[in-house]
Each structure stands twice: as C-alpha cells, then as structure tokens.
Amino acid sequence: MMPALDGRGTLEPEPGRSVEIRPRSEGTAAALLLAVLLAAALAAPALAPYPPDHLDLDRRREAPSAAHWFGTDELGRDVLARVLYGARVSLAVGLLSAAVAGASGVAIGGVAGYAGGAIDSILMRGTDAMLAVPRLPLLMIATSVLQPSVPLLVLLIGLAGWMETARVVRAEFATLRGRGFVENARAAGAGHARIIGAHLLPNAAHVVIVSLTLAVARGILLESALSFFGVGVQPPRASWGNMLYQAQATLATEPWLAFAPGLFILMTTLSVNIVGDRLARR
C-alpha cells in the first residue's frame, strides 16, 4: 500500500500498518495448527495411549482422567485414541475430496472459460443446476444407497463440490483469454494445450488455491455430517462425525464423549478457513 501524505507533506507510515501484521501472524498460527493436526494424525499409532479399538469393559463410560484424557466410551475405548485415529480418516476425506473437487472444477471451468460460446453456456447451466440441489441431502441419499466406504465418500463429496472452483476458474480463463500475452502466444503458434498449461493455468492458480481451502473445510464438515447421520464412515472405524453420532445417544450421562471430536473438527475447519482467508486477501 502507498504511504499516506499528511497535511505537512511529510511521509507518515500508513495508519493501518501495525495491525496489518496481526492477521498475517494469525495466518501463520493457523497454518501451524493445521500442520500439528496433520502430524498428529500421521503419528496416531505412536501418540495414542491405547489402540483405538482396545476394549476395556471394566472402565466403560469413564469421565476424563489422567489415564484417559478425554474419557472412555460405552465399550471402554479411549476417546483420545479414537480422536487421533479419527483424524486420519477425517483429514484424508477432507483433503482428498478437495483434490477431486479441485481437479473436476478446474477441468470443467477451464473448458467452459477457454471454449466460450455454446460449450460454455451448457457447462455453466449444469454448474448452476448442481448448485441449486441442496448438497447435504443429495450426498445423504447417494451414500446411503451406495454402501458407504471411505473411497466412495471421497469421490462423492468431491463430485458434489466442484461447482465453486469451476465458476472462479471459468471467470478467470474468460478474462485472461482476451489478454495481450495470450494473443501473443497464439500468434506465435502455441497450441491449445500450451496456452492453457503455460499461460492460463499459472495465472489462475491463485483463485484455485483459495477455492481449494474452502473445499477442504467443507469436505471435513460434510464427512462429519454424513457420519453423524450414520451414512458416512462406518463403525468400528472411528471418524470425528461417527464419534459424535455415538455420543448423541448418551448426551445426558456422558457429555464428554461429544466434546473432543467436535473440538477437533472446529480446530481443523477454523485453521483451514483462516489460512484461506489470508490467501484470499493477498
């Protein structure tokens, strides 16, 4: 930003400058938290105090204690261990579904924006149609009829989330297409593949990355919502969503079961959203 001129004509530091640094450090903190969560998920076997499906029937439904930081569930399983192993499933679904959504969004939006004309309007009407179908109910029907499994969840959540990326990529391609450097490349004899790969995509990378972070947060929320309804990740495998699903039944007597999984979902979506917010403002 330009330094502001004050009345005497001397250069004063821009007033918002000292606070400008804060959000950047928030972004760093969020990225760090995200890295810690990812590392914890990867290192779950080393970090977890018990195996995630270790039954201890003498110590069922215990409140948090030194031995079980987040308590135990109705089968005496350690909630901390299950949250850590659940992180692997939940984060994997979030990241991979965002990759599926991003790849299909870039392909569809890219073709629409580059080709223009009839192809553009057909693809964009399809995008509008997909955006008008409520996402969670659509996914609930799809996963419940198709025997839910983790790869299927990744695929379905990804295929239900490409529309936002497609829209921004299309808009970016459509404006870039008419710019001088693209015209120059075309005049110099570059083919479609070269123009898209070397000129359009690198310039659209920024909006793609921002829409990807949103897709990761949405993917994690959708996975947990689907598992919460019993049509996502299936027990005995732990995910944050299905732990909450099981916690709901005994909310009155064992409220701690609901605490840890939700907190982990919130920490993840919050840090992903803050990182995305920072990237979008850059």
Binding site: V19, A132, P134, V145, F229, A258, I265, T269, V272, N273
Partner: protein, 316 residues
C-alpha cells in the same frame, strides 16, 4: 421489467429439467431401484415385488419412467409415501409450518446480529470491533452445526435445565412460552451460522460503498455522519447482501436437515431423515425437487429485487 422476469423464468426452466434428471437418475441408480426396501424384507414374496414393479411402471424403459414421473410431478401428483401410504404432498404440507417457524425466527435473529455488526465493523476496518467480529465470524462459519447444537443441549437443557432439549412443544402443552422455549436452541444454531456469513458480506459491501465518491461528497456537503452511513451508504450496500440473504433463506428451508434432526424439530428436515432411514423414495424425490425449485425460484426473486432496489443493475 416484465421482459426481465420472463427471460429469467425461461432460463430457469431448463435448469429445473437438468435438476430433475439428476434427482431421478440418483434414485433409480440404487441397486434394486425404488423397491430396494422390499427386496431385503423376507416377508415380501418375489411375486409381490414383481406385481409392484409392474404397478409402479418400473418395468418400462428408463426414459419413459422419467417422462411420466416428470409430467405427474409437474401436475402436483407426487405419488404415495412407501412407509405409510399417504399422499406425499400431504406428508410434506403438514411439516411446512414447523420449518417456516424455525427458519423465520432464525433469519430474524441472524439479521438482528449481522446488520449492526456488519455496519459498525465497516466504519473502522481493522479496528478492535472489526477484528473481534471478524474472528467471531470465521469461528461461526467453521462451526459444525450439529456439534454446536449438541453443546447447547448439554449446557442449557441437560446441565442448567433452563430449556427443553428437543421437540416443538411439551406433550399436551403448547402455550406461547412453551413454544418459544422449544424454539430457542435450534433457532440459535441456525442464526449464529447465518449471522457469521451475512455480517461478512455486509461489511465488505459497506466498506466498498463508503469509499465511493457520492458518500465522500455527502460528507463534504456536511450531511450528518449518521445520515451518511444509514441513508446514503447502507441503502446502497444492502442490495447485494439482501440477494444473498434470500437465496440462503431458500437453502435454510431445505437444508435445516442437521439442526432439525439434532433437536427433533418436526419439520421438513426431519421428514427427510425419516424418509431416508425408511428408503421412502417418493418422499425423498419430492423433497429434493421442491428444495431445488425453491432455490432456483428465490434466485430469480433475489435478482429481480436487487435490480428493482438498485437502478444501476440493468434489467437485462
């Protein structure tokens, strides 16, 4: 004006056709088709299933089935619920008031939070109020609604015992106070999530408007600051935000699935989860089609309203 509306409606028609194909194919891609529920039931004989298949027209080519379903649906014949045999339309209509009550309350509360927050935050971008509301808004957007609902239940219903944890009225009761007590928690969940998003949009729109020459000119003419903010800036900043609010309202009516389920609120969202658990495809198809139609319709209404409020948006 009329030409604008006619054009938008003409654009919406093929959109609805595409959606109907998506919904139809989804339901019919189920192994066993819409009769899957009977296939797994040992009490239903194979010859009964065959009879049902023919009675429901499931033995005809897919495109024929689609066409007759679409014609019937457009005429308001939505079929019969598989689980209790009543007309689908009846089952849906009886759930509408509960959902409308919940969503209308949530939208009112959300606007009451988002409007002042968005305006005040925009007056001093990066000031302490803006930083606080920004942090709260990002937290609100990241919050998993069902977990927030469970936490509210733990604290206010099970812990403190101030409010009921689920349902729309106490059994046998139903006074105004009882009603409001049941409404409080689910409406809070929906309102917080929406207020977070809406305050962000309004803040952005206000900051943009406050920097425009006509606002600066009004200030220079000596118009009181209050009037500049509320009459000059807000009126212009509100248009695009209201368009978003309207579309979100349509999404809420169809998408309160999570909140209604957590609080056992007897609305459309609960009807959806009940129908899903019983594989009641007639109900599921009708709900999904109606929700999509509502979202498309509200999009047209929002565009029209935006154009009417703001003459700069051309009625094209």
């Amino acid at each position: 004006m009329l030409r604008f509306l006619a054009r938008r409606l003409l654009q919406a028609a093929p959109l609805l056709l595409v959606i109907s194909v998506i919904v139809f194919l989804l339901i019919h891609s189920v192994p066993g088709g819409p009769l899957a529920i009977y296939l797994s039931n040992p009490n239903v004989r194979p010859q009964d299933i065959e009879r049902l298949r023919r009675a429901l027209g499931l033995d005809r080519p897919l495109w024929e089935q689609y066409w007759s379903w679409l014609i019937a649906f457009a005429q308001g014949d939505w079929g019969y619920s598989f689980s209790d045999g009543r007309p689908v339309g009846m089952r849906i209509v009886e759930r509408v008031p509960a959902t409308l009550e919940l969503v209308a309350t949530a939208i009112t509360v959300a606007l009451a939070l988002a409007l002042p927050a968005g305006i005040v935050a925009a007056l001093r971008p990066r000031g302490w109020f803006d930083r606080t509301t920004t942090a709260l808004a990002i937290a609100g957007i990241s919050l998993p609604a069902f977990w927030f609902g469970l936490l509210l239940q733990i604290v206010f219903a099970l812990g403190l015992g101030w409010l009921p944890s689920s349902g729309r009225t106490t059994f046998g009761g139903g006074g105004l106070v009882d009603h409001l007590q049941h409404l409080a928690l689910p409406a809070t969940v929906l309102a917080v999530v929406q207020a977070a998003a809406w305050s962000r949009y309004l803040r952005g729109s206000m900051i943009e408007t406050l920097a425009q020459p006509f606002v600066v000119a009004a200030r220079a003419r000596g118009v009181p600051s209050r009037a500049v903010i509320l009459r000059h800036a807000l009126r212009n900043a509100l248009g695009p935000v209201l368009a978003i609010v309207m579309v979100d309202a349509a999404l809420l009516v169809s998408g309160a699935v999570v909140t209604e389920s957590v609080f056992a609120w007897p609305g459309l969202g609960s009807l959806f989860t009940e129908a899903l658990a019983r594989r009641d495809y007639a109900v599921l198809m009708a709900l999904l089609m109606l929700a999509s139609t509502a979202i498309v319709a509200f999009n047209v209404v929002a565009d029209t309203a935006h154009a009417l409020l703001d003459p700069r948006v051309a009625l094209r």
